[in-house]
Amino acid sequence: MIRVQAEDFDVGRELEKLSDGNHGVGGVCSFVGLVRDIAGDKPIQAMTLEHYPEMTELALAKIEAEAHDRWPLEETLIIHRYGRLEPGDRIVLVAAASAHREAAFEACHFLIDWLKTQAPFWKLEETPDGGQWVDARSSDDAAAERWVETKPAKSKPDAAE
Protein backbone atom coordinates (compact mmCIF):
# COMPACT_ATOMS: atom_id res chain seq x y z
CA MET A 1 0.00 0.00 0.00
CA ILE A 2 1.30 3.41 -0.96
CA ARG A 3 0.06 6.86 -0.06
CA VAL A 4 1.55 10.26 -0.80
CA GLN A 5 -0.28 12.99 1.03
CA ALA A 6 -0.02 16.35 2.76
CA GLU A 7 -2.06 15.19 5.77
CA ASP A 8 -0.75 13.46 8.86
CA PHE A 9 -1.52 9.76 9.40
CA ASP A 10 -2.53 7.59 12.35
CA VAL A 11 0.34 5.15 12.90
CA GLY A 12 -1.63 2.73 15.07
CA ARG A 13 -4.52 2.49 12.66
CA GLU A 14 -2.22 2.08 9.65
CA LEU A 15 -0.20 -0.69 11.28
CA GLU A 16 -3.35 -2.45 12.41
CA LYS A 17 -4.52 -2.65 8.79
CA LEU A 18 -1.38 -4.59 7.84
CA SER A 19 -2.41 -7.64 9.85
CA ASP A 20 -6.14 -7.11 10.15
CA GLY A 21 -7.88 -10.42 9.44
CA ASN A 22 -4.61 -12.05 8.35
CA HIS A 23 -3.55 -14.50 11.05
CA GLY A 24 -0.53 -15.50 9.03
CA VAL A 25 1.20 -12.31 10.17
CA GLY A 26 3.59 -12.96 13.06
CA GLY A 27 5.37 -9.63 13.10
CA VAL A 28 5.08 -6.06 11.86
CA CYS A 29 8.19 -3.91 11.71
CA SER A 30 7.73 -0.20 11.13
CA PHE A 31 9.73 2.98 10.91
CA VAL A 32 8.38 6.49 11.44
CA GLY A 33 10.55 9.40 10.32
CA LEU A 34 10.05 12.69 12.14
CA VAL A 35 11.19 16.28 11.63
CA ARG A 36 13.98 17.14 14.05
CA ASP A 37 14.55 20.66 15.33
CA ILE A 38 18.20 20.60 14.37
CA ALA A 39 20.27 19.65 11.32
CA GLY A 40 23.99 19.34 11.92
CA ASP A 41 24.29 22.26 14.32
CA LYS A 42 21.63 24.58 12.85
CA PRO A 43 18.21 24.99 14.46
CA ILE A 44 15.31 24.21 12.10
CA GLN A 45 11.99 26.03 12.35
CA ALA A 46 10.27 23.95 9.69
CA MET A 47 10.90 22.06 6.50
CA THR A 48 9.05 21.88 3.22
CA LEU A 49 8.99 18.65 1.28
CA GLU A 50 8.73 19.06 -2.47
CA HIS A 51 8.13 16.06 -4.70
CA TYR A 52 7.53 15.05 -8.30
CA PRO A 53 3.97 13.77 -8.13
CA GLU A 54 3.84 11.95 -11.48
CA MET A 55 6.94 9.98 -10.52
CA THR A 56 6.58 9.53 -6.77
CA GLU A 57 3.94 6.82 -6.73
CA LEU A 58 5.66 4.91 -9.53
CA ALA A 59 8.96 5.00 -7.66
CA LEU A 60 7.36 3.91 -4.39
CA ALA A 61 5.47 1.10 -6.14
CA LYS A 62 8.74 -0.18 -7.58
CA ILE A 63 10.39 -0.12 -4.16
CA GLU A 64 7.46 -1.97 -2.63
CA ALA A 65 7.42 -4.57 -5.44
CA GLU A 66 11.15 -5.12 -4.98
CA ALA A 67 10.63 -5.80 -1.25
CA HIS A 68 7.93 -8.38 -2.03
CA ASP A 69 10.28 -10.05 -4.53
CA ARG A 70 13.02 -10.34 -1.95
CA TRP A 71 11.22 -11.36 1.24
CA PRO A 72 8.18 -13.48 2.12
CA LEU A 73 5.88 -10.59 3.08
CA GLU A 74 2.18 -10.53 3.81
CA GLU A 75 1.82 -6.78 3.38
CA THR A 76 3.84 -3.58 3.12
CA LEU A 77 3.04 0.07 3.59
CA ILE A 78 4.66 3.32 2.56
CA ILE A 79 3.11 6.67 3.50
CA HIS A 80 5.08 9.80 2.66
CA ARG A 81 3.98 13.34 3.32
CA TYR A 82 4.80 16.49 1.36
CA GLY A 83 4.38 20.18 2.09
CA ARG A 84 5.40 22.20 5.13
CA LEU A 85 6.19 20.27 8.31
CA GLU A 86 7.39 21.40 11.71
CA PRO A 87 9.69 19.74 14.26
CA GLY A 88 7.99 16.71 15.77
CA ASP A 89 5.78 16.18 12.70
CA ARG A 90 5.73 12.78 11.05
CA ILE A 91 7.26 12.68 7.54
CA VAL A 92 7.14 9.06 6.54
CA LEU A 93 5.89 5.65 7.70
CA VAL A 94 7.18 2.41 6.22
CA ALA A 95 6.16 -1.00 7.49
CA ALA A 96 6.42 -4.66 6.58
CA ALA A 97 4.26 -7.52 7.88
CA SER A 98 5.51 -11.08 7.62
CA ALA A 99 5.11 -14.48 9.21
CA HIS A 100 8.67 -14.07 10.51
CA ARG A 101 10.47 -11.24 12.19
CA GLU A 102 13.72 -11.30 10.22
CA ALA A 103 11.84 -10.75 6.97
CA ALA A 104 9.77 -7.95 8.54
CA PHE A 105 12.89 -6.18 9.87
CA GLU A 106 14.94 -6.54 6.72
CA ALA A 107 12.13 -5.52 4.37
CA CYS A 108 11.24 -2.48 6.51
CA HIS A 109 14.86 -1.39 6.63
CA PHE A 110 15.16 -1.90 2.89
CA LEU A 111 12.00 0.17 2.23
CA ILE A 112 13.29 3.23 4.06
CA ASP A 113 16.85 2.94 2.75
CA TRP A 114 15.74 2.67 -0.86
CA LEU A 115 13.06 5.30 -0.48
CA LYS A 116 15.75 7.73 0.70
CA THR A 117 17.65 7.42 -2.57
CA GLN A 118 14.94 6.42 -5.07
CA ALA A 119 11.76 8.38 -4.30
CA PRO A 120 11.76 11.93 -5.72
CA PHE A 121 11.45 14.08 -2.60
CA TRP A 122 13.52 17.10 -1.66
CA LYS A 123 13.70 18.90 1.66
CA LEU A 124 13.96 22.65 2.10
CA GLU A 125 14.84 23.53 5.68
CA GLU A 126 13.86 26.86 7.25
CA THR A 127 16.79 28.05 9.31
CA PRO A 128 17.60 31.43 10.89
CA ASP A 129 19.71 32.06 7.73
CA GLY A 130 16.74 31.39 5.43
CA GLY A 131 15.67 28.40 3.38
CA GLN A 132 18.34 25.79 2.66
CA TRP A 133 17.98 22.74 0.45
CA VAL A 134 19.20 19.65 2.27
CA ASP A 135 22.26 18.04 0.71
CA ALA A 136 22.02 14.38 -0.16
CA ARG A 137 24.01 12.28 2.27
CA SER A 138 26.67 9.82 1.26
CA SER A 139 25.55 7.75 4.27
CA ASP A 140 22.14 7.33 2.59
CA ASP A 141 23.80 6.12 -0.59
CA ALA A 142 25.86 3.68 1.44
CA ALA A 143 22.75 2.47 3.30
CA ALA A 144 20.93 1.86 0.01
CA GLU A 145 23.99 0.28 -1.57
CA ARG A 146 24.02 -2.36 1.12
CA TRP A 147 20.80 -3.88 -0.26
CA VAL A 148 22.13 -4.30 -3.78
CA GLU A 149 23.54 -7.73 -2.95
CA THR A 150 21.22 -8.76 -0.14
CA LYS A 151 19.44 -12.09 -0.36
CA PRO A 152 16.01 -12.80 1.23
CA ALA A 153 15.78 -14.00 4.82
CA LYS A 154 15.06 -17.67 5.45
CA SER A 155 11.70 -18.81 6.81
CA LYS A 156 11.27 -20.22 10.29
CA PRO A 157 8.57 -22.12 12.24
CA ASP A 158 6.56 -21.11 15.40
CA ALA A 159 3.16 -19.47 15.81
CA ALA A 160 4.46 -16.10 17.02
CA GLU A 161 6.48 -15.20 13.97
Binding site: H51, Y52, M55, I91, L115, A119, P120, W122, W133, A136
Partner: protein, 84 residues
Protein backbone atom coordinates in the same frame (compact mmCIF):
# COMPACT_ATOMS: atom_id res chain seq x y z
CA UNK B 1 8.40 19.18 -28.27
CA UNK B 2 9.54 17.90 -24.88
CA UNK B 3 8.08 18.68 -21.49
CA UNK B 4 10.77 19.75 -19.04
CA UNK B 5 10.31 19.78 -15.25
CA UNK B 6 12.65 21.26 -12.65
CA UNK B 7 12.64 20.50 -8.93
CA UNK B 8 14.16 21.90 -5.72
CA UNK B 9 17.13 24.22 -6.28
CA UNK B 10 17.25 23.42 -9.98
CA UNK B 11 13.77 24.92 -10.22
CA UNK B 12 14.91 27.98 -8.27
CA UNK B 13 18.02 28.49 -10.39
CA UNK B 14 16.21 27.89 -13.68
CA UNK B 15 13.53 30.33 -12.48
CA UNK B 16 10.82 28.04 -13.82
CA UNK B 17 9.14 24.80 -12.73
CA UNK B 18 7.92 23.50 -16.05
CA UNK B 19 8.27 24.37 -19.70
CA UNK B 20 7.83 22.92 -23.17
CA UNK B 21 10.97 23.05 -25.32
CA UNK B 22 11.80 22.14 -28.89
CA UNK B 23 15.55 21.62 -29.07
CA UNK B 24 17.28 21.11 -32.44
CA UNK B 25 17.17 17.63 -33.92
CA UNK B 26 20.82 17.08 -33.04
CA UNK B 27 19.68 16.72 -29.40
CA UNK B 28 19.04 12.96 -29.03
CA UNK B 29 20.34 12.13 -25.53
CA UNK B 30 20.03 13.55 -22.03
CA UNK B 31 23.65 14.74 -22.20
CA UNK B 32 22.98 16.63 -25.42
CA UNK B 33 19.83 18.10 -23.95
CA UNK B 34 21.78 19.36 -20.94
CA UNK B 35 24.38 20.97 -23.23
CA UNK B 36 21.62 22.70 -25.14
CA UNK B 37 19.99 23.81 -21.86
CA UNK B 38 23.27 25.39 -20.74
CA UNK B 39 23.61 27.19 -24.06
CA UNK B 40 20.38 29.02 -23.29
CA UNK B 41 22.35 30.93 -20.63
CA UNK B 42 21.04 32.77 -17.56
CA UNK B 43 19.36 30.63 -14.92
CA UNK B 44 19.65 27.53 -17.09
CA UNK B 45 23.42 27.83 -17.34
CA UNK B 46 23.52 28.28 -13.57
CA UNK B 47 21.18 25.33 -12.88
CA UNK B 48 23.33 22.97 -14.93
CA UNK B 49 26.72 24.44 -13.97
CA UNK B 50 27.59 21.51 -11.70
CA UNK B 51 26.38 18.54 -13.71
CA UNK B 52 27.52 16.13 -10.99
CA UNK B 53 24.65 17.45 -8.88
CA UNK B 54 21.95 16.99 -11.53
CA UNK B 55 19.79 13.85 -11.67
CA UNK B 56 17.45 13.09 -14.55
CA UNK B 57 14.25 11.14 -15.06
CA UNK B 58 12.82 10.49 -18.51
CA UNK B 59 9.14 9.63 -18.43
CA UNK B 60 9.29 9.20 -14.62
CA UNK B 61 12.21 6.77 -14.67
CA UNK B 62 15.69 7.54 -13.33
CA UNK B 63 18.13 7.43 -16.24
CA UNK B 64 21.78 8.05 -17.04
CA UNK B 65 22.92 10.89 -19.29
CA UNK B 66 23.34 8.60 -22.31
CA UNK B 67 19.61 7.83 -22.26
CA UNK B 68 17.78 8.91 -25.45
CA UNK B 69 15.30 11.77 -25.46
CA UNK B 70 12.67 12.44 -28.10
CA UNK B 71 9.67 14.59 -28.82
CA UNK B 72 6.81 13.75 -26.47
CA UNK B 73 9.07 12.80 -23.54
CA UNK B 74 8.67 14.23 -20.06
CA UNK B 75 12.14 15.03 -18.79
CA UNK B 76 12.70 16.03 -15.16
CA UNK B 77 15.88 17.57 -13.73
CA UNK B 78 16.49 17.57 -10.00
CA UNK B 79 19.21 17.39 -7.34
CA UNK B 80 20.01 14.16 -5.48
CA UNK B 81 17.00 12.96 -3.54
CA UNK B 82 16.60 13.90 0.13
CA UNK B 83 13.25 12.42 1.18
CA UNK B 84 12.34 9.98 3.88
Amino acid sequence: MMKILYFAWLREKAGIGEEDVSPPETVTTVAELVEWMKSRGGGFAEAFADEGMVRVAVNQEHVQTDHPVAAGDEIAFFPPITGG
